[in-house]
Symmetry: D3
Subunit: 239 residues, 6 copies
């Protein structure tokens, strides 16, 4: 597959990824995940309790929250504490993050504890939600490793890896890993969360400007598979 | 495709649908949409103004809100006005509803007005969001017809129909149009919004209990196509 | 008493009433109550607990909430979940509903449970609060009957019936059961909640445009008595 | 009418009233109104604008707000600013206060301005809402007098006086002007707002513990009339 | 030190202070504290419980809240219950009040109870926060005395007195106890909370219009010391 | 002055400071400011408008907001967007930040624009508010330089530098630049904001565990002066 994009990538190229583990010191999992100019801080914190709705169920929980710093976007974003609640987009992303990580976690094996995932966007250039999934998995794995090193977990509650990528149709061409300027002009936008077995955890596709055909869906899924496999490999190399 | 479900349906059967247009008198589009025991009131109201972010753009807007009556579920749901904000699930559904209906609307052709779609759930037995899309399209079409009858619109801003259905994998079997008891036990859950050309407006699939394979995705998409085509036909017959 | 109104009624006529019990399936009491074009859904739900302020008092509770669907009025009403709190009028109505139903309930005989009354307005053409009281009593009675049929209550905690009606002075003439166009122009507005013994549970009268005389109060109370007696009779017939 | 109460009053006695005009210096109307141990600060402030819903109508407005200091009751009341909204009772009282004062104000004659009435309870021993009406009328009259003295108003927008009192049935006996210990044990509670012509502006009666008979209503209305006439006289003497 | 101010005071004069103990009846400490035209009601209420964060620590707590009545300022201030939260200035003042009073309280000796300090401003003419500290200490002492008289406290948890005053630089001259018109024009503003030993509990100085020199700081601290010593003496005389 | 601390510093030593300008790309001023383990991101964003309360005054504005990432502290901090408002400490810090930066800005010379300062704490080990002031001044200077380079400002609205440091008394010894473990045990805590002329912009001192003497205040101010002078020098070197 060929074609040139503003940053010189081919249509099926990922942006360059940098993964910095242990970026901050207090959370047992703390990863600065950068892909191109997008920069997200993903942390995993352990709370030795479960949410009220799980009390007495004998299972742990993984939950996620997502935020953007006011200065992370061109045109300052209003600060969350003065808005008073997560906006619709943040809520949507938090739900995807939580589902994606729970899909590869054996929650009863986690014990009666909650792992909080925080994804905070330091700089936003498209794909923050999928960057968040890919980076948060590493933070989660580091927090689980810490629990095991501390003798708090006998087995491994992680059943596998999970990574995510966005694809889209831009000017009629399916493309992998959209930067912001591409995303803003995309006709179709698809986010895929995938395991290393190539199975789907989440698929969210939207015809932003028009409906999309089954053939376009097939082409986008193939690109997403290629991208996720590369990211899953980068996750393994980072550890 | 065969197989029997608790209510006697085959795996690829829709629940019986009843469509009552003009259910209330004040909104120009007002549809009571029932599928099985799920019952949603879909209305379309016209406001002769556009949201602030569209001012000066020469285009109209379609937006949607979704709510559940406290008594709509077994186990009373806390009233929205005492919660103080839409919860995460409501926000997610409102965004899908809005995108689905905007996808088939020529917004500039709508003129400088907003059509508010309200989907209020009177009784919830699974599939309220997809019932909401299918019913809301009829309400939208009725409101547009009223605008045209009143001489406020020259052409037709509706570029086509849109309908939605849920599919899932339950006990290993892909099934169409899940009722609540099926949905609660589903391993995979997929909502599809489709046009009468068979193209996709929105696909949202989640591995609720495990990841799902490409083959399962294919089977679910086929069921969703069958269901949507039937619903698009029922929409046409209702008018 | 004679006189003709826009809908042909005499000054002392009620609007036609339709009562549909069992309108939805999940709440043990569920009544669609319609008077003229006003349409309210009244449900009664049982919670096997009492509010915190009653703990240890050995008594049950009846409480009520009231809401209007956005499409229930000409000119869409802003959705409750985006307003963040009940408005002043809703609060006032919720308090009247709760007091009216508690007045005829033997709360200790109810056991350590709460009955939640929800009145949701599907279409508003005046008199929704009094329609709510009259309809909610039937829903409450149905929920109590269900508790007794299920063997959860030995005796009958309902000490009697309660119904409500509005009266007003319009163009100098006292009138019964005001529709919206009459209410908007009324000089005086009086809501009365009454038992089948003809005693008062609640009286709320307001001089909307001018103060009202003792003679006007007397005439309005007589109309209210006539209306409530008819409504109490319709309640009995509906069961 | 005879009978002795805890504080030695006869059943038809008001509590002693003290009226201090000009209690604070910044508001043009500022009255400390005390009846027995109940102490409310009533102020009237002028804003040279009208609320949005009245713009272009050529009329002024009178609105009221009500609050209780945390230390005003035995058992500290949670501070309003940490509750985040007026509670149900406060909303109800604010609406009564506003209606009562608007009933005797010629709003168009007020000019394009709003008079804000604030009733703040320094000490609560029953009857704060009716004390608020009676005291607020004096504050309103003082603010209007200031506007006239400043040459901002040609005529007098006040069409008359308004005062309020509570009555109730306690231990089977109708009583005037209930103190807190009486109110808490009352079977029936009735608040009446009246003009000096003896006409009603507002009547709110509730059977707190049982329904009340037409005869009881008549007796309570007679007591209320006696009390209001005395209060209207005290208002005149205070000026 | 000489110099004349608008109200005739010398630069190092306090405004006249009036202290009325037992101003309201329900709170065990209740002080109307007036300095010049500033008038604050300071109360101390006892709750027989400690906040959650202190449970199991074997210590009591003193906390403070601060509010202004809407009519307390020229130009009505928006009511707290309609704002929904304390504003930034109120939060800042509440924190100072709490720290100041805890600084002279032996919290473990207080027992497992909380003393709530409420400072409510009836009229604001500058210096309400420092008036609040000085008045609240008296209310606190009265509440403690009540606890001791009731046999609920063996020893005295109050380790000493605390009083506060504002100083500033106005037109180049350091001045004590600024009234509102002085405060609004001050170049530098300093609030000091001091014990009778002349030690500091809190110092908050801000260059409102320009930075201030070490010499100015020294001069302001000397004025503050003089003022606090006089106020501490007035506190003792009032008891 | 001698004495050894947990991290080997003398009592009058600052922690090592690292300043990274241009840390993110979208804000014209963006500084990662680290002192010891405390790490704050300070950005300055330009909005070409002024707040409502300054309209028509012919002056610009500088305002500041402060937040902590949930993972910035040991023990995850609740996310701002789910708390719904800044907490008391955040409000206090935002007010200090804004005042400090406005003190060295010629607001009319800034033109009719607002500079938003955001201080976001990535890792908190004591002194985040003073680190925020020192880092934010650099971000402000960079944003001003960008405005001048873009030809949007003729002169320089910055009248000088401002830096801040904390000092305290720990175990009887005055110490400079407290780390978290020192701050938590400090008897007295003092934050000082200072200009390069050695004048004060803000002084905030609190006796956390006991009152402090004038001699202690003098010693702390001397330490603060030494620290601020070093920080002002580091600011200049960083540019």
């Amino acid at each position: 597959m060929t074609g040139t994009r503003r940053d010189g990538r081919a249509a099926d190229d990922l942006r360059p990824v940098r993964i910095t583990r242990g970026y901050t010191e207090f959370a047992p999992g703390s990863v600065l995940y950068e892909c191109g100019r997008t920069r997200v801080l993903c942390t995993a914190t352990v709370e030795e309790a479960v949410p009220e709705f799980l009390e007495g169920r004998g299972t742990g929980w993984v939950t996620a929250e997502y935020g953007m710093l006011p200065s992370s976007t061109p045109g300052r974003k209003r600060r969350a504490s003065s808005r008073g609640r997560p906006d619709g987009r943040e809520v949507e992303i938090q739900r995807i993050l939580g589902r994606a990580l729970r899909a590869v976690t054996d929650l009863p094996a986690l014990g009666l504890r909650t792992i909080w995932i925080d994804v905070d966007v330091l700089q936003a250039d498209g794909g923050t939600r999928t960057a968040g999934v890919t980076g948060a998995w590493i933070a989660l794995a580091d927090a689980v490793a810490r629990l095991r090193a501390d003798g708090k977990l006998a087995g491994d509650p992680l059943r596998g890896q999970v990574a995510a990528v966005s694809v889209g149709v831009v000017g009629g061409t399916p493309m992998l890993d959209l930067a912001y300027n591409e995303d803003a002009g995309a006709e179709v936008d698809l986010n895929v969360v995938m395991t290393e077995a190539g199975d789907f955890v989440e698929i969210q596709g939207t015809g932003e400007k028009r409906a999309f055909t089954p053939a376009e869906l097939e082409a986008m899924l193939a690109l997403a598979r290629k991208g996720c496999m590369e990211l899953l490999s980068l996750q393994r190399e980072s550890r």
